[in-house]
Amino acid sequence: MTASPPAATVKDNREKLLERAMSRYRYSGDALIEVLHTAQELYGFLPPPLLKTIARKLRLPPSRVLGVATFYHFFSLKPKAPHTFVVCLGTACYVAGALGLVETLNRRCAKPENSGVRNDVSVQSARCIGSCGLAPAVIFDGKVLARVTRQLIGAELEGIGVK
């Protein structure tokens, strides 16, 4: 999933894959959430024109598709930044000081000298990632970091060019 082939072939392929997913569910409106999962996996996010296409194919009102896409936290209507930090804010991580990590991340990214790279980093939170024994946990670009400290966050930030 990391290496991306030339843009043109990707696009054709993605439409086909999405179509295949919808036909697997026999274009049933009940499978909307599954279809949105597939779409987000393929495109990285859910651009509004794509939602319209999905609505037409599944024979659902566009309002219903937009409603579902915005109701669930997992779906994003905007493209994702190249780097994401997902700070777990489950109870165990909260008790271990996860809010401090969110604050550190936001403060570091908001520094004036980081205006160039700021938009490359997205700071999100999750309700529980199931690694409570390793609190506080942070998912940095898909990798789970255990027992995270401010220093560790700082090191990871510097690794991607945030001062």
Binding site: G29, D30, F75, I129, C132, G133
Partner: protein, 543 residues
């Protein structure tokens, strides 16, 4: 396969396992994976290959071995020893022959007789450490699908339900509704099409996700007369989703799920539905809406799902842990299960111990075990600082103060204290946690997760969060405290679903047991735990 073939396969696999010199089992649950279990497994695998012993040593993964704080964990089956904090450098000594009988890695060995293990009782987690979650043969060797075979060949649906009723099993999710009664209700419905739904959205630790859940669901399908099951699993649990998909595929191939199960006339399909991150989908009617592809908003009950659930059909909804208890109950009988636990709460309960405690991890204890045993014997106590509160049930639960440490953990006692059993989170807080901020934290969560359908929850959580936020900033008044109590009552009484009704629980329990902390924030404008950033304190520090 037929039931005879199932037993044959078990014998065959056990024989194969016994012929091996050793089976090295690496914990492959989320906790250990995030502290390097994958690299360790590769190192061990390379070492086995280097020594040329692939034929006599088997390397496999297994479900959560429990002691997550010592991860990555490795279990060596030959001498039944558990090792913690294992590094790739230890691979050579793990693989090499060890005739002396002493632990191969003395300083990494974990004492299996320690209270952490000896005070536990494993029914639901029995297969963790014995079964590779990716291998069906392993589960069959451990006696898997025999309960389903027994139900299909030797029992009638009514007998299965009687057995579950006799066991006294109660729903392991929230309210603890008797499982047998629920099954009975669904069975008695007239419509032909019925559904079985497994609620895996409650933040249960991913380790539950083994095949006993599938087996439990199939038995439930047989008992209530359903042919289709759904598992609603959280999108965040990538690992669980992957393993469940593998397990379903393997079972269908062997005719343990799907058409003509075990060559009987019974058919039962299980499909996965992946959630997309909405806490309210743990509520059963919201979960149904979400499976139907809609927004996860709850609806008015009655009618309850056993009468009208998924697509209007009678629907049985239980959570993961409840289903995981079914196979052992059918296999060993309801009386056996009822002999564990207290008068009203039978069996065991799994907890994910976390927070300010020495041994974090996944544990299973008989119902009625006291909190003190769980926290201080099994959990190993609080590493630094003093015990302040234990929190069960997440945002719907309450904080349990020190004076109730000797209360038995069962449905009634927890409810009396003002908390709930919940799906198994048990978080320990020490004196560095401010209880007002804890209440604020949970209220913020409920505010974000409120689906917005009913007004008490949608507006009430915002108001309560606002008050709590002002308290933590030292800007609240006595009136605010009064208002907080009024709102708590209002939300509890008038919200549509469980999320809103239980949202005030953390506030009410902290107001009851830690009132002095609230008063300190309001009257003295200080935070006793030193956690909150209160302006007057800051000013004082600066002056």
């Amino acid at each position: 396969m037929t039931v005879e073939e199932l037993y044959g396969k078990q014998a065959e696999e056990l024989e194969r396992q016994q012929a091996l010199k050793n089976r090295i089992m690496c914990c492959s649950a989320a906790g250990c994976l995030s502290c390097g279990a994958d690299g360790l497994r590769q190192a061990i695998s390379a070492e086995i290959a280097a020594q040329g012993r692939q034929a006599e040593i088997e390397l496999c993964g297994t479900g959560c071995l429990g002691m997550c704080s010592r991860g990555p964990l490795v279990l060596s089956a030959a001498d039944n020893r558990l090792y913690g904090n294992v590094t790739p450098a230890d691979a050579a000594s793990l693989v090499s022959a060890n005739p002396s009988g002493k632990p191969t890695l003395p300083d990494r060995a974990i004492d299996l007789d320690a209270p952490f293990f000896s005070k536990q009782m494993r029914i639901v987690l029995a297969n963790s450490g014995r079964v590779d979650p990716e291998k069906l043969a392993d589960y069959i060797a451990a006696g898997g699908y025999q309960a389903l075979g027994k139900a299909l060949t030797a029992m009638s649906p009514r007998e299965v339900i009687e057995e579950v009723k006799k066991s006294g099993l109660r729903g392991r999710g929230g309210a603890g509704y008797p499982t047998g009664l629920k099954w009975d209700l669904v069975m008695k419905q007239i419509p032909q099409v019925k559904y079985v739904v497994c609620n895996a959205d409650e933040g249960d630790p991913g380790a539950f996700m083994d095949r006993s859940v599938l087996e439990g669901m199939a038995i439930a399908g047989f008992a209530v007369g359903a042919q289709q099951g759904y598992i609603y699993v959280r999108g965040e649990y990538g690992l669980a989703i992957e393993r469940l998909q593998t397990a379903i595929k393997q079972a269908e191939r062997e005719r343990l799920l799907g058409h003509r199960i075990l060559e009987s006339g019974f058919q039962f399909r299980i499909d996965l539905r992946v959630g997309a991150g909405a806490f309210v989908c743990g509520e059963e009617t919201a979960l149904i809406a979400s499976i139907e592809g809609k927004r996860g908003q709850p609806r008015q009950r009655p009618p309850y799902p056993p009468e009208s659930g998924l697509w209007g059909a009678p629907t049985l909804i239980n959570n993961v842990e409840t289903f995981a208890n079914i196979a052992p109950i059918v296999q060993n009988g309801g009386d056996w299960f009822a002999s564990v636990g207290t008068a009203s709460s039978k069996g065991t309960k799994v907890f994910a111990l976390a927070g300010k405690i020495a041994n974090t991890g996944l544990i299973e204890v008989p119902m009625g075990t006291t909190l003190r045993t769980i926290l201080f014997d099994i959990g190993g106590g609080i590493p630094a600082g003093k015990f302040k509160a234990a929190q069960t049930g997440g945002p719907s639960g309450g904080c349990i103060p020190e004076q109730f440490l000797d209360a038995p953990v069962d449905y009634e006692s927890l409810a009396k204290i003002g908390s709930i059993m919940g799906s198994g989170g048990l978080i320990v807080m020490d004196d560095s946690s401010c209880m007002v901020d804890v209440a604020r934290f949970f209220m913020e969560f409920c505010m974000d997760e409120s689906c917005g359908k009913c007004i008490p929850c949608r507006a009430g959580t915002v108001q309560m969060h606002d008050i709590l936020h002002r308290m933590t900033r030292g800007q609240a008044t006595e009136d605010d405290m009064q208002m907080l109590e009024t709102l708590s009552e209002l939300l509890r009484e008038t919200s549509l679903c469980g999320l809103g009704q239980t949202a005030p629980n953390p506030v009410m329990s902290t107001l009851k047991y830690f009132r002095h902390e609230y008063e300190a924030h309001i009257r003295d404008r200080r935070c006793p735990a030193g956690h909150c950033q209160i302006e007057s304190q800051l000013e004082g520090a600066m002056a």
